[in-house]
């Protein structure tokens, strides 16, 4: 159900768009329930569920005790019993206590019960850096989630996409992680269609067309790549930006199409470089589009260190336009 693009739009930031999606989902499907730490009474530490408990009541929007494994386990149970749980984990770095439920059950349940039980659950979590949060509040664990069989992983980069993809995630019959870049929560406003609409899961999205090289990115790195592309454009270099949007299942075709067009790939992510999701993207390109490559595949990522708890220097860890441009130069002058 893709929105009628003629429908009216308003400027919303990402939190507002997410809040609106949650509101619409609760309204549309009585099976949808929302919960997590501080999600109910307070409306979430980022206000993503602001106003929803008063509107839908404490049974459908509720606070849980402070225990992430309990939250995910609760949701798995609720989903198996026929509800549509949407859980918030307060920060993606606090998904870790829930990783046993996630790796052992969330995505395995359909498989291990041969389809008898499934887990149509959405787990939302703010992720990533750039806003001087305390230690562990800026983690980007998407690569770990990509090693979980049976789950999907979505990372939107704009209010319009966030709203439509979140509604798709909630409709999806399988478990979906929905990671939201903290950096983008309130920093940008953009036009968002009114009303209920969904967007396709599992498709890359070309954010900017170009022939010189492809920048593959997602979430908070999309705006970084956009800045880099604008600078490059001034020098006459037209970069293509591909927002992966859905990491799992990855739209390999979409990735390859762009590489085949530009012949050059730069992959940008803010998680630690080694073992990061960008490695998967590089590996797929190296396996399926080698002949089209005119330069090495370059990754621009967080350094092999914890995200720095020393916020004064965090922007030296997190990739910025300058580092992206250095990589672009490398692939262009190869």
């Amino acid at each position: 159900m893709i929105a009628d693009r003629e429908s009216k739009t308003r400027a919303l930031n990402n939190v507002q768009a997410i809040n609106e999606a949650l509101d619409l989902a609760l309204e549309r499907d009585p099976k949808v329930v929302l919960f997590g730490e501080d999600v109910g009474r307070m409306g979430g530490v980022f206000r993503a569920s602001d106003g929803l408990q008063p509107k839908y009541g404490e049974k459908r929007v509720f606070d849980t005790p402070l225990a992430e494994s309990g939250i995910v386990g609760l949701g798995i149970g609720m989903a198996m019993a026929g509800l549509r749980p949407v859980a918030e984990i307060q920060f993606a770095g606090f998904l870790y206590p829930a990783l046993d439920q996630i790796l052992s059950h969330l995505g395995r349940m359909r498989h291990r019960t041969r389809g008898r039980f499934s887990v149509p659950m959405v787990i939302r979590a703010p992720y990533g850096g750039g806003v001087k949060t305390p230690e562990q509040h800026a983690d980007s664990p998407e690569a770990i989630l990509s090693q979980v069989a049976g789950v999907k992983v979505i990372i939107p980069s704009s209010p319009e996409r966030a709203k439509g993809l979140l509604l798709s995630a909630i409709e999806d019959p399988d478990p979906v992680f929905f990671l939201e870049a903290i950096k983008l929560y309130r920093s940008v406003k953009a036009e968002v269609p009114e009303g209920y609409y969904t967007l396709p899961i599992g498709k890359t999205r070309v954010v900017r067309q170009g022939h010189a090289a492809s920048l593959f990115c997602y979430g908070g790195m999309v705006e970084v790549c956009q800045k880099a592309a604008e600078v490059a454009a001034k020098e006459g270099v037209e970069l293509e930006i591909v927002d992966l949007e859905t990491l799992v299942p990855l739209d390999t075709e979409g990735v390859l199409e762009s590489v085949k067009k530009t012949g050059r790939a730069v992959i940008v992510y803010e998680a630690m470089r080694t073992g990061g999701f960008g490695a998967e993207v590089a590996a797929r390109i190296a396996e399926e589009a080698l002949d089209h490559l005119q330069a090495p595949i370059v990754r621009v990522a967080g350094w092999d260190a914890p995200y720095p708890p020393f916020s004064a220097v965090e922007n030296f860890y997190r990739p910025d336009a300058r580092r992206v441009l250095e990589a672009v130069r490398k692939v262009l002058t190869y």
């Binding site: 049974k59 609720m78 989903a79 019993a81 509800l83 749980p85 046993d100 059950h105 995505g107 041969r114």
Partner: protein, 343 residues
């Protein structure tokens, strides 16, 4: 804490029994059926006709008593050891045999049995049981959930989180801890310092009950009470059943590496089936002839199940990538075609 008990070691009633005559007979039958299955599949296992199997000899009453307290529309959320609970709850023997043959055909409960596949990672079932129960409550049904965990499993964080959530939400769950003395080679007194696991209930503000786990009358009656409490909306109960794992941990385990024979010998005398039979004989409800007839019937049922299981088709390689997602993704599709020999 007092231990709820109705039968002495010989099966003689210590006080008025809370169960009817048909219930007593049904209970004994369920115990015998479970024991029969356990004994027979162990033979299959030795013949190489079963995979790794966790036996439950000696724990039949603790499992059967809870399963009997459930309605068909309730839920069973087991650990790996609850084959006796599962069969009593209605899981077909054929499924169970296939399951312990690691055959996908056995891993799916029939549509009318709300049982989740046996859980291997310890204690992970607990928060999920709470979730199912909470969902039933939100849906306005009065279905309840029974979940099981071992003495060892109580040490995991998930035990704690699941119980706390259930307490806070008044979720309709029965948490059955089978304290069978061992977690593989670790005895309960090295697993925890507290003497009675049921005392942990106090930390969550929920009722905790200790029951003689080898006394079916006792287990069934405390489970009934817990089920009624849950159904009424009064929340969860933690039951500690004191029992003993007579057999090895699994068919791969060698208990002589960590314990002597003496302990088992003591517990053999408290065998839940002999006690129940003692009671029935005392009440003149049962005799040798009936017992023989029952044995034959159970063997017949078992053989039929084995036969059916033997006829199940071999697992197909491509089933590996089926049921990963509702709709097969591109990455699975590649594998599926390869495994079907089509790629």
């Amino acid at each position: 804490m007092d231990t709820v008990q109705y039968l002495d070691d010989a099966g003689l009633p210590l006080r008025d029994l809370p169960l009817s005559t048909p219930e007593l007979l049904m209970g004994y039958r369920a115990l015998r059926r479970a024991r029969h299955f356990d004994e027979r599949v162990i033979i299959l296992q030795r013949q190489g006709r079963l995979g790794v199997f966790p036996p439950f000899r000696g724990q039949e009453a603790a499992q059967v008593g809870v399963a009997l307290a459930l309605r068909k529309s309730d839920w069973l959320v087991p650990s790996y050891r609850e084959t006796a609970a599962a069969m009593t709850f209605g899981m077909p023997l054929t499924n169970l045999i296939l399951n312990w043959r690691a055959d996908p055909a056995g891993w799916r409960a029939p549509d009318d049995i709300n049982m989740i596949q046996f859980y291997i990672p310890i204690a992970t079932q607990i928060p999920q049981a709470t979730g199912i129960a909470h969902a039933e409550r939100l849906k306005g049904s009065d279905n309840i959930v029974a979940t099981f965990v071992g003495d060892g499993g109580t040490s995991e964080g998930d035990f704690h989180e699941g119980l706390n959530f259930a307490a806070v939400f008044d979720a309709p769950v029965i948490f059955m801890v089978q304290n069978n003395g061992w977690a593989i080679s670790v005895p309960t007194h090295k697993q925890m310092k507290v003497q009675r696991i049921a005392l942990k209930a106090q930390g969550y503000g929920i009722p905790g009950v200790v029951v003689d786990g080898n006394d079916l009358v006792a287990v069934w009656s405390v489970a009934k009470e817990a089920a009624e409490r849950a159904r009424r909306g009064d929340g969860p109960t933690l039951i500690e059943a004191i029992t003993y794992r007579i057999a090895p941990h699994t068919s791969s385990d060698d208990p002589s590496r960590y314990r002597g024979e003496e302990e088992s010998a003591v517990w053999e005398k408290r065998d839940p089936i002999l006690r129940m039979r003692g009671l029935l004989e005392h009440l003149k409800l049962w005799d040798e002839a009936q017992d023989k007839e029952l044995s034959e019937e159970l063997e017949g049922e078992f053989l039929a199940a084995v036969e059916e299981a033997d006829q199940a088709p071999e697992p197909k390689p491509w089933e590996i990538v089926e049921q990963v997602y509702a709709k097969m993704g591109a990455d699975q599709k590649v594998a599926w075609e390869y495994l079907r020999g089509e790629a």
